[in-house]
């Protein structure tokens, strides 16, 4: 079996949660060998990341180069190609960085590429048996991926639950000398911070979150009315921001805000993994969707198959009845 590497995503000297998940995926590919961490970066942050991995990896390959201080995928790809032996299996988290890095890496390695892996079922001859999801998570697919010339496997964050691996007394191996000058035709300039909005949804205990199912911009008033009745705030999923109906600061998900509410009403939200990645703290999730197959019903505590535009006003009316707060005057147009 080929050697298995785990690419460590890190920020401000701290490894990403996926650093503890990739070894679990690696053990499902080959339980007999420990996988090797590869960490690229620069300075004290890089050293802190390497140190913190010593408990979970037996070997940590460090590549310290000033141009890698920011993880520009074009440069990281070059660095990996200098150190990873032909035929290896490279595990990368399937998120913003992995989507940038891995397709090109697989071509340069002349290796197979399997993106967004959610489960691994073993190896048969040269073929890895794995599971992916398609059509927005509505169906799953059994996949075969040929390992004979190596593979890049992008692993979905959160899909492999960290467990106690074999105790590791990680050895840090400096591979910097194997990497030549790093230049690319894509140059990192700066990072623009997220825009702040009028409401910080990350701090709200109750969220009425709306998705594509809200249908039209004017229907958002229905969610706002329910939020007012419940003393909640309105958040949303990506399609609502794409349509410019709500500000980016209201978006829940890996590309938006991470929220930790007590109660989360997912209204007309299908439940893509990118959206779910933004919901932390194990809230009570109620899903309301007219499609009974929507993936959100797999993660919600409670599901309701109904038309939002009728259900939400009915709920708002009942909440007001309960709390004896008079409804706001409906504006007539």
């Amino acid at each position: 079996m080929a050697r298995i590497f785990a690419y460590i995503v890190h920020k401000s000297g701290v490894p990403d949660d996926t650093a503890a998940e990739l070894p679990v995926a690696a053990r499902k590919i080959d339980p007999t060998q420990p996988c090797t961490a590869i960490v690229t970066g620069w300075g004290a942050d890089l050293d802190r990341v390497c140190e913190s991995l010593r408990g979970s990896y037996s070997e940590i390959w460090k590549i310290a180069k000033e141009p890698l201080a920011y993880p520009n995928a074009a440069l990281v790809r070059k660095a990996l190609l200098s150190v990873v032996p032909a035929g290896s299996i490279v595990l990368v988290p399937h998120a913003h960085f992995g989507v940038d890095l891995s397709p090109g890496l697989s071509i340069r390695m002349d290796a197979a590429y399997l993106p967004d892996v959610v489960d691994i079922e073993g190896v048969e001859a040269d073929w890895l048996k794995a599971v992916r999801q398609e059509f927005g998570g509505q169906v799953s697919a059994h996949m075969r991926c040929n390992l004979s010339t190596g593979a890049v496997l992008n692993i979905r964050p959160g899909a492999f639950r960290p467990s106690e691996g074999p105790a590791a007394a990680g050895q840090i191996v400096d591979k910097t000398a194997d990497v030549g000058a790093l230049t690319a035709r894509r140059r990192y300039l700066e990072t623009a911070a997220a825009e702040m909005g009028d409401v910080d949804i990350a701090k709200e205990p109750v969220l009425i979150s709306i998705g594509r199912g809200i249908g039209e911009q004017e229907n958002i008033a229905i969610a706002e009315d329910l939020a007012e009745a419940m003393g909640a705030a309105v958040s949303c999923s990506r399609p609502v921001v794409d349509a410019k109906w709500m500000d980016k600061s209201r978006q829940v998900g890996s590309s938006g805000q991470t929220v930790r509410p007590k109660v989360y009403l997912a209204c007309g939200i299908s439940g893509s993994f990118q959206h779910l990645a933004g919901i932390k703290g194990n809230p009570f999730i109620v899903a309301i969707n007219k499609n009974p197959k929507a993936p959100i019903f797999r993660v919600a505590e409670v599901g309701i198959v109904d038309d939002l535009l009728e259900f939400l006003p009915a709920l708002a009316a009942r909440v007001r009845e309960e709390s004896c707060v008079p409804g706001k005057e409906r504006q007539r147009s």
């Binding site: 913003h96 071509i107 999801q133 398609e134 075969r144 205990p205 299908s270 309701i304």
Partner: protein, 263 residues
């Protein structure tokens, strides 16, 4: 600027419940509503806006069969200068690398400054753009949410990162970019526009005409294969509230009270 946009016709998942056919070899496709992959539509709009500022033309291309012509026509009705269908029986069963190899052969027949794809399609792979760039030895960036044309054959691009921020890069032309939804507001295409383009011939090119590297395409060459579909395990699954709307509202009220949802 000469821009190529690679597009795909996909089942519209916001309109369809995806069901699996009896044996699990495919999804049930008969009753599906198909449309252009949503991120591709943003890519075409972005190309049209760039060409509107700098001049040039927009070509849309897809790899598929006759039925895929309709998405080329739709994007031509938006304003794309020309559409090209790439089709060959030998392409059946190609994996992402195979599709990228087919597109590479097409790109090398023309002179494109910029190649755009949607960030991902129905399979959720987000792979063809990055693979195409590597095969062409062009620079690549994914999840692009802004493009500014600079002097000296360069672009300034923003790409989406975790937490709602944006990573700003300079990238040399020619390059490949995968476009994220929300980068612009794709223009509306009316029935009149579609009708006007209905009789424009769409050239179809095959493997021989393109000089595709056959060792990379088709089911035999594929390093990645799908062997079947299944319905994901429900996990613990949601408790579905049943009954009349009034009854469901009552049940939900009790749950919300218990869980601190009513302030």
């Amino acid at each position: 600027m000469e821009i190529l946009v690679c597009i795909k016709r996909v089942p519209d998942t916001s309109e369809n419940e995806i069901q699996i056919e009896g044996a699990g070899t495919d999804i049930a496709r008969d009753d599906l509503v198909y449309s252009v992959n949503e991120p591709d539509n943003y890519a075409v709009e972005e190309a049209l806006q760039i060409v509107g500022r700098t001049g040039g033309s927009v070509t849309v291309v897809t790899v598929g069969g006759e039925e895929d012509e309709e998405v080329l026509r739709r994007e031509m009705a938006m304003g794309a200068t020309r559409g090209v269908l790439i089709s060959d029986d030998s392409f059946q069963g190609s994996d992402g690398r195979g599709i990228a190899a087919i597109l590479k052969a097409f790109v090398q027949r023309g002179h494109y400054d910029l190649i755009l794809t949607g960030v991902q399609a129905d399979g959720g792979c987000a792979q063809v753009g990055g693979m195409l760039a590597a095969l062409l030895d062009y620079p690549f960036a994914s999840l692009v949410t802004s493009i500014e044309v600079l002097e000296g054959r360069k672009l300034k691009i923003g790409r989406e990162i975790e937490g709602g921020g944006k990573e700003i890069n300079a990238i040399d032309l020619p390059c490949v970019l995968s476009i994220q939804t929300g980068i612009n507001e794709p223009r509306y295409v009316g029935m009149r526009g579609i009708r006007q383009i209905a009789s424009v011939p769409i050239p179809t090119l095959g493997a021989a005409e393109l000089g595709v590297e056959t060792e990379l395409v088709g089911a035999i060459a594929a390093k990645v294969k799908r062997t079947g579909y299944f319905v994901p395990a429900a996990g613990k699954g949601a408790e579905m509230l049943a009954g009349s709307r009034e009854e469901v509202v009552e049940k939900l009220m009790d749950l919300l009270k218990a869980k601190g949802g009513l302030n």
